[in-house]
Amino acid sequence: MGVFDGLLTGLQVAFSLQGILFVFIGVLLGTIIGMIPGLGPISAIAIMIPITYGMDPAIALLMMAGVYYGSMYGGSTSSILLNAPGVAGTVAASFDGYPMAQQGKAGKALAISAICSFIGGTVGVVLLMVFSPLLSKVAISFGPPEYFALMLLGLLAIASLSDGSVVKAFISATLGFIVVMIGIDAQTGTSRFTFGNINLLDGIDFLVIALGLFAIAEVAFLILFRKAGGLKDAKSIGTLKLTKDEAKEIAGPTTRQSFLGFFLGVLPGAGATISSFIAYITEKKLAKKPEDFGKGSLKGLAGPETANNAATTGAFVPLLSLGIPGSGTTAVMLGAFLVLGIQPGPLLVSEHPDVFWGVIASMYIGNIILLILNLPLIPYLARILLIPRPLLISLVLMFCFLGVYAVSFNIADLYLLLLFGILGYLMRIFAFPAAPFILAFILGGMMEQSLRQSLTISGGDLAIFYESPIALTIFIVSVLFLFVPVLKGIIKKGRNTTNLSA
């Protein structure tokens, strides 16, 4: 069966009344789950598994896929409005999204998020449909040394995530590295920095860090500086409409990051989070005015928002065509496939074309439904900001605690949340940026593991890093990332002096 015939079969499944209905249910659930911190797509899909048992596999799976990419769509809402990222893939969206909302442009920020998500998702589906069989080779091309190189590239963002002092950014990142070391070390099985406390054996959850450092710290800051105007109610949410210039401004990042995000998503283990950070730094490097980033830049929001959705779609390549789950969520999806009697993997296209193509075709519809669903909701969602501040920040606090508790049902995590809230507040007072901390926390763990895996494989020989062409290429790109701006500066200086002397 060719791609075209296959897609026709898929469209038949996806465009059936049942198909549309369940895609709708899936993406609606996904958006809602994404908006509430603490409820992630993993638990939603796991809970759905017994419910879908006995359903037509293609229909059940397109619903679950809808929950997955729908949650990435909705996840940025709390990042942008409340600085409370509930999913790791949406942390980067808060860097410029939250400042925009603060400036009274919440409507525009959410509109950009919805449009970029739509574009990233749709381009992703097209790429998934056309290249899926080819890309399965790309998906397995990364081993430990290549992942190490990729994480290193991602970590270069630290330097560009600092507004003021680069030294402070690195101190903040070092703290993030220390915190991610807590727990049982995967390569030796030894527990590190747990002080005999079983609550620390699994390490500290991402949500505790993200909500503590971002949301709780922000709330504390608003309360303590209420006299300076922190508690003034937001007056407007601004317009949703983008001007022609603004549309032009985000066109570049959206196009680039749809492709880059998708390809990073294809790599198992990389996924939405890394692609959103890499999107942020590449856009900052490419921007004519990088100094706007972090202060409400449209590009700084459009880049990561496009990338995380494209990456979510990309993650279906290894899942569908290799049977390899690239993330926790896709691992649970794999379980959902198995329950329904479908084994994803190299034989899926030929054995169950209706499922393979049905899921892909449904993503077109899902993305359109998400856009239609989200755009009209924006004014209502953004109105959250019009709630009187004292009430709003109490609500944010409540949701942070609820969200963290819902992940582990463990009181100890609530104390940790408070602790990181205090740390985040102190960091703000002393002008230490929180973003490098969370970046080091997310990427540092994977970077350490892949470094040690590589060195175990090679028996301690560092040659493993430059003998791999892919890793070597990424290292070279990293070096260019670091030195091109410096060189540019030197050249510019040189030119200025020649101009002067002329």
Binding site: I45, G143, P144, Q187, P268, I324, V339, G345, T456
Partner: protein, 331 residues
């Protein structure tokens, strides 16, 4: 399969009679739950324990096997340690949990204060087996060739698995490699927990994947990898599965079972134990559960409470010996 395994376990002694109190509930001979039973998966959503718990609860509820409903609770943390500590502390017969070999490993590796002896084994339900896989174009066609190479040079092949050294995926490989005379302390083993293990195998970063049959079988069926051996004592059933040789028939006399059963809090009464044993036995006999098993590739391995206790004791002794021999645990 299940027959031989059960036969291989000696006729059970009544260990449990000794540790469960006889005084409680002596008025009526029967016990039934008085409220909803919490079936705990000591892990997050998704994954083996969670899936087992959800499927068991679903079948019990749908087939109306119990007077009260069964609800699944996730209690993640510490690889299970938090859920176990919670169960021990609450000590409520309506609070039971799903377990598998990590219950033994994590306790032996001293990451949990509680081991199976602190709980009441109720019944074992199902089993999966280990598998050792290599790339389809690897030079090894059977385990003997692989082990011979490793005997000459323990660094000749790198092994990957999803659990930490000293835990399940590592120890199942070590167990057989040691039997073959390989210097296991110097075998390179890396952990990959994010589903990247099979990727690293396919792209040639590592050579051997120590995993479970259900994970490896589809890639093998698609011709991407070869399964050199499965750790069951007899060949598994199924059109593709029955062609895979066991490790035992290749001359290494050992087996490794990834058992999955249910345990309850300490000091349960005989009546309570009896109630759950019978309930799980009935659940395993349902058609719904048989269908689920077929889909996940789970083999039936029913053991009643006393058989299960005896089995766990044997497992713990074997693994303790293995961990000491490999230097993961001090003598």
């Amino acid at each position: 399969m299940k027959c031989t395994l059960m036969a291989s376990i000696c006729i059970a002694g009544f260990m449990l009679g000794a540790c469960s109190s006889e005084a409680a509930n002596s008025s009526s001979g029967e016990w039934e739950p008085a409220k909803t039973v919490e079936l705990v998966a000591p892990s997050g959503a998704g994954g083996g324990w969670d899936t087992t718990a959800r499927m068991v609860a679903k079948v019990i509820d749908e087939a109306n096997l119990a007077n009260k409903s069964f609800g699944v609770i996730n209690k993640p943390g510490g690889g299970g340690a938090i859920g176990w500590a919670d169960n021990y502390r609450r000590n409520d017969p309506h609070n039971i949990f799903v377990a598998s070999p990590p219950l033994i490993f994590i306790h032996l590796n001293e990451q949990s204060k509680y081991g199976f002896k602190d709980f009441t084994p109720l019944a074992n339900l199902i089993a999966d087996y280990g598998a050792f896989a290599v790339r389809a174009d690897a030079k090894w066609d059977n385990l003997q060739e692989l082990f011979d190479d490793l005997k000459k040079d323990p660094t000749a092949a790198t092994v990957i698995g999803t659990s930490t050294p000293g835990s399940m995926a590592h120890m199942q490989f070590v167990q057989f490699a040691m039997e073959a005379g390989v210097d296991v302390k110097n075998v390179r083993y890396i952990t990959e927990q994010d589903g990247g293990a099979i990727t690293s195998l396919l792209n040639g970063s590592v050579d051997v994947f120590s995993t479970s049959v259900s994970v490896a079988v589809d890639q093998a069926r698609a011709g991407k990898i070869k399964i050199l051996g499965v750790t069951s004592s007899d060949r598994l059933q199924g059109d593709f599965l029955s062609d895979i040789p066991t490790v035992k028939e290749q001359g290494y006399d050992a087996e490794f079972v990834n058992w999955r059963g249910v345990l309850g809090p300490p000091n349960m009464t005989d009546e309570q134990i009896h109630y759950y044993e019978k309930l799980f036995e009935k659940m395993l006999a349902t058609e719904q559960f048989a269908e689920i098993q077929e889909q996940f590739g789970w083999n039936t391995m029913y053991l009643d409470s006393s058989e299960f206790t005896e089995f766990l004791e044997e497992q713990e002794n074997d693994m303790d010996r293995l961990l000491k021999a490999t230097g993961f645990k001090k003598e």
